[in-house]
Assembly symmetry: C2
Homo-oligomer: 682 residues x 2
């Protein structure tokens, strides 16, 4: 047995013997221990910090004495003086092995750091982004071997980092020579290597050691809103999230009206493309300013979006998406640059990755949901519903995954509802109707109090109560059904039938008066018979899509349901079940995944292997086209009723008393655009 | 032995038996016979025309009877009616084998056509361009298998042409869907595959069969002139050549003055970049107009240029090239697009290839000369001299190739000469001085007569005699030396010493009066002592560079000398030898290669394998840096004299009577910009 010092790394448990004097970093590399370094062991980047342990380690069979590592050296002292070094920490590139030792690699020193996700059930994101920093020392030019500066940089990367065959855009070449000389032939490069075609590419270069970071944007480009998550590409931490209205809204509220705009107006698609690209530039500048970083440090961006947004972002006429057979120009994942998309706010050499589309109605956003929620890795049969103007549905388990989209229309978002409005302060978002008195109480966005609680009037004085948003109308209809105000066919009863004067006649039908501020000049907020019908159509479409996938899968029930999307995060599972939006499932098996599409974008941003994975997964998803499937229509008609028992059935009575946590299980709401709301129980 | 019909293809001699009914095209493909087809055998492109032969073929052991091929069919008749088909020709995709047959593939039906080069010694260019046309039938979209249009086009290319993994720019995607539908799912695509990184790329798409051609530009970007050769990428034929002054001239005549301009003026490099790019756009439009083609059909461009032009074209600050150690930003070959270079006149998806640079002073133009002249394949030791403001020299044979550049200055181009001017009508380009009478006669550009021939005055009345160009001053100095007007040290004698009143005093020295039109208000054209000194400096630099390479190679003499460059084509070999511009060599071993750099660009344009070849060759060339080599200075000083015998020595007397052909041997002047001049012997 060798007398060379034994080193045991924790938490990996990897161990080996190395000659005395071997730097800890070198030992870690030889053992495949995940220890970071940007400067390649030159003692300047401090990424390789480690913590030696001393004493008896029976578990590892090691006794570590003082002197197991070389003495604290001047490089470490200089670093500690300049930047500070936590007590007990050493630099792995400076400390050398002198005796047996146990060395802990703290999480922040690992290359493939795990990014914590809030939901305990969610798999962690392992940091392995496409763009990484490398510090290199480049040979000076020599007339006798007259290679170009790029070629000498290439050789340095090959010799110092074993990265070969690099390339660079002309705009990088244009700053290469000055930067090399400014850095006295020491530079940090950002190197992009993803799963796309082409060679590793230098996308940025800084003189000396670059220490102001490297950032990426995960952008969820929706028809209504654009949400961006600015992510530190070294740690994976989201340092700022920001959203804006999609500026294309002025061309049409929903997707089909934008496709129509493109069809009716020559150049209309180019107008919408310019609008969304400018919007993304504005959002990029705003989020960088919010985080206090230079937007030129944004070197990667991942987009997820539905097919129409996808085409309009890319500058492709979406007209084919407006008519059968809904042919995409391209469905594969795209590897682009910021200038390709006319984006000017981020680094001009930033690399763009756009997830693949699943079909003409099921876009890169659904692919991102699949990446985040991994239905194909689920042992039980999971239905994932991403509710928006169109709903995308995924049904699957380890054996098979199906996808479709359902034309729910905008009712779930509060549009086409008589008192409907977008989710904004003043909008009713929660509703309860007493089954005996038939009296309602509501909560509005921007206030944590119920309307029958003390202080409510004062708290809502500024916003007022202006209308009813998507989650509010769902709760209102479900509560009306449970209180017996609405029958199974969806008909609102008269005051006489229901025993409440809140049921007021409107022509031949009745409406339910949810809120009346007309005495103070405020609105009367009614749920009309038309509103009930709109919600019935939307929920029937959603339910029919789910049933169609279940037919295709040959099942009658699903094991669990995941509600995705920013909107999905705010829907009450109970009310969704009462309404029949989703197939029956135990209430505790109906969970919210938050903005799963945005999370999928973040995963693709932080982990390059996830890109290859989702490209493979999308190829294996079976697409079911609702538009041409006669059974969709059958299911749609059959789902029109609200078949749940008139009075709150016992099961639900029990469930409504369940603790708050139940309704947020598996939330993973870390990506909901920064808007967080406390729930007080139903 | 099989009874299947035997087919023998000529000129390849390839033969095989195939079942009766096999189309000739299919048989050719299986045998690897070089028979073209764009439409893949659908009888619409007519590229696969063949000529069957009938009768006895003892050489092939075949008797071909009528009926050896299937009967003339309606597809062929339709094609013949519509476009015409040469008598005896058949379409290889329509005619099927019925009996033994001998089939000739005419040159224009070969995929890898040979491009005829004028010089018999030059190797032919084999057509194998990076961009080719493919006709494909694409599957229509289907909601049940909702792939994108690009993905179905990809599958069609894979199934019909065995080309996989394609990609396309966004601007191509933007026209993909409309074009597929316009062509009723039949389209022609231009597909680019070179030796660079990345996947095969669709760079253009047309509905149906595209029949208006595919073109490429070979551009020789010089400091003074830009020459472009518009080439048919299907046949390799140069359909138009055109040149223009480099618009950067206003920033400085020579390279170093342009580098200085960049150093002295902030943004000066960007100004020069814009100027040359605009110039190339103008030239592209002009040459396309001259040839009567749509410039959008130009899908490939190859550039050759010296390092400073290279950097300024790319938008790179050339400042490092103006000072030791002359570091290039990059020396490798570049694969770019027209928009990368801000070029707007050609197709926006045109691919650009720029040959590699050899060193900071020896550019892609020298690489192109190496590609054209192939010193590394020469059995004898060849010195190739590309004369311009800087001279690039290549010396080598199969064992080794060396390269350097020599700072000749602009004297050889007529600059810094008292009566010097650019090569243009009116410039003296040929000089003879009678060794007895010391009287000169001259020829001027634009006139084929000598000044002592009848009609000369009339023929030159329009242009006049305005000055003396580069080849003229070389001949003048050499003739003055041979006539005893100049001594070995370069000193012009007095009238008394030389016996001619044409030697007139000018201060302390003398000048030789070459032409005097002062009586009619025209110029007096003198060769001054200063002119002799300028030519001595230039020729010493050139000679010293050659000697330095010979030292490095360890030789005292070279077997042959090739004068390259548009200017090189006009230098009289005899006078170059008399002057001592080049090392001694038998006169018949001093040849002109014409514009070898331009020819190298054409080769790289027409043959993709040549790109890989020159990249490999450049890596193997040994660069010799003249600026840091003390022996260069020694050789330079030693070469200052004009050591040849005062009177025309016998050897030269013999040689000047050699026939005209001798001076044009190996000319290869097909690429000299269309300017052709008759020589009448010296």
């Amino acid at each position: 047995m060798s007398n060379d010092p034994l080193v045991v790394f924790t938490p990996s448990g990897k161990r080996g013997r190395f000659p005395a004097g071997t730097p800890v970093l070198a030992a870690a590399r030889q053992l495949g221990v995940d220890l970071d370094s940007v400067c390649g062991g030159r003692g300047i980047c401090s990424k390789c910090q480690i913590t030696p342990s001393y004493g008896e380690f029976p578990k590892h069979g090691v006794t570590v004495s003082e002197g197991a590592l070389s003495e604290w050296n001047s490089v470490e002292q200089r670093y500690a003086d300049k930047r500070g070094l936590q007590a007990g920490r050493r630099l792995g590139c400076q400390a050398t092995l002198q005796g047996d030792v146990v060395i802990d690699v703290p999480p922040e020193s690992q290359v493939h750091k795990q990014v914590i996700r809030k939901a305990a059930s969610a798999r962690p994101i392992i940091m392995d982004p496409a763009t990484r920093l490398y510090f290199v020392e480049v040979e000076e030019p020599d007339m006798h071997t007259p290679t170009g500066d790029l070629e000498r940089l290439e050789r340095a990367l090959s010799e110092q980092w074993e990265i070969s065959g690099i390339t660079a855009d002309l705009s990088l070449l244009a700053k290469l020579q000055k930067t090399l000389r400014k850095g006295n032939w020491q530079v940090t490069v950002a190197l992009h290597r993803d799963n796309g075609p082409g060679r590793p590419r230098i996308t940025e270069i800084w003189p000396g050691l670059h220490e102001t970071g490297l950032y990426g944007l995960a952008i969820d480009l929706g028809s209504t809103t654009i949400a961006a998550h600015l992510t530190d590409l070294e740690t994976g931490i989201v340092i700022a999230s920001s959203g804006m209205m999609n500026p294309q809204i002025r061309f049409g509220e929903d997707l089909m009206s934008r496709v129509s705009y493109a069809m009716m107006n020559p150049g209309g698609d180019a107008e919408m493309t310019a609008a969304v690209r400018n919007g993304i530039d504005d959002l990029t500048r705003a989020i960088a300013a919010e985080a206090g970083i230079d937007p030129a440090l944004i070197l990667e961006t991942v987009f997820v979006c539905n097919p129409v947004m996808h085409h309009l972002l890319l500058g492709l006429d979406p007209v084919e998406l407006g008519q059968a057979p809904f042919a995409l120009a391209t469905s594969q994942a795209l590897h682009l640059t910021a200038p390709d998309l006319g984006l000017n706010a981020m680094n001009p050499r930033a690399r763009i990755y756009i997830l693949p589309c699943i079909a003409g109605h099921v876009g890169a956003d659904a692919a991102a949901v699949a990446l985040s929620e991994e239905p194909g890795k689920s042992q039980d049969l999971v239905l994932i519903v991403d509710v928006g103007t169109n709903a995308e549905l995924l049904l699957g388990n380890t054996s098979r995954v199906l996808a479709c989209s359902s034309p729910t229309g905008p009712a779930f978002e509060g549009a086409q509802i008589s008192s409907g409005q977008r989710a904004a302060p003043g909008a009713i978002e929660r509703v309860e109707i007493d089954p005996v008195s038939k009296e309602p109480r509501v909560r509005v966005i921007g206030c944590d109090l119920w309307s029958d609680e003390e202080g409510f009037a004062e708290a809502t004085a500024t916003s007022g109560i202006t209308g009813i948003c998507g989650s509010g109308i769902i709760e209102a209809v479900a509560e009306m059904r449970m209180a017996g105000i609405v029958d199974a066919s969806g008909l609102i009863g008269s005051a006489a039938q229901t025993g409440t004067a809140r049921c007021v006649p409107e022509g031949r039908t009745h409406s339910y008066l949810l809120h009346d501020a007309s005495d103070t000049g405020g609105p009367r907020i009614l749920v009309t018979q038309g509103d009930i019908r709109a919600i019935q159509l939307a929920k029937s479409a959603l339910y029919a899509g789910a049933r169609l996938l279940m037919d295709e899968m040959g099942v009658d029930k699903v094991d669990r349901v995941v509600l995705a999307g920013a909107f999905g995060a705010h829907i009450s599972s109970k009310h969704a079940l009462v309404l029949g939006m989703i197939p029956d499932a135990p209430l505790d098996k109906v969970t919210s995944a938050g903005n799963a599409a945005g999370t999928g974008a973040r995963i693709a941003l932080c982990n390059v292997a996830a890109r290859a994975e989702i490209e493979r997964v999308v190829g294996e998803i079976t697409k079911v086209e609702t538009a041409i499937e006669p059974r969709f229509q059958e299911h749609f008609v059959a789902a029109n009723a609200i078949p749940h028992k008139t009075d709150p059935f016992p099961e639900l009575s029990k469930i409504v008393t369940l603790p708050e946590a139940m309704f947020n299980a598996g939330g993973g709401n870390e990506a909901d655009g920064g808007r967080r709301r406390r729930r007080r129980g139903a």
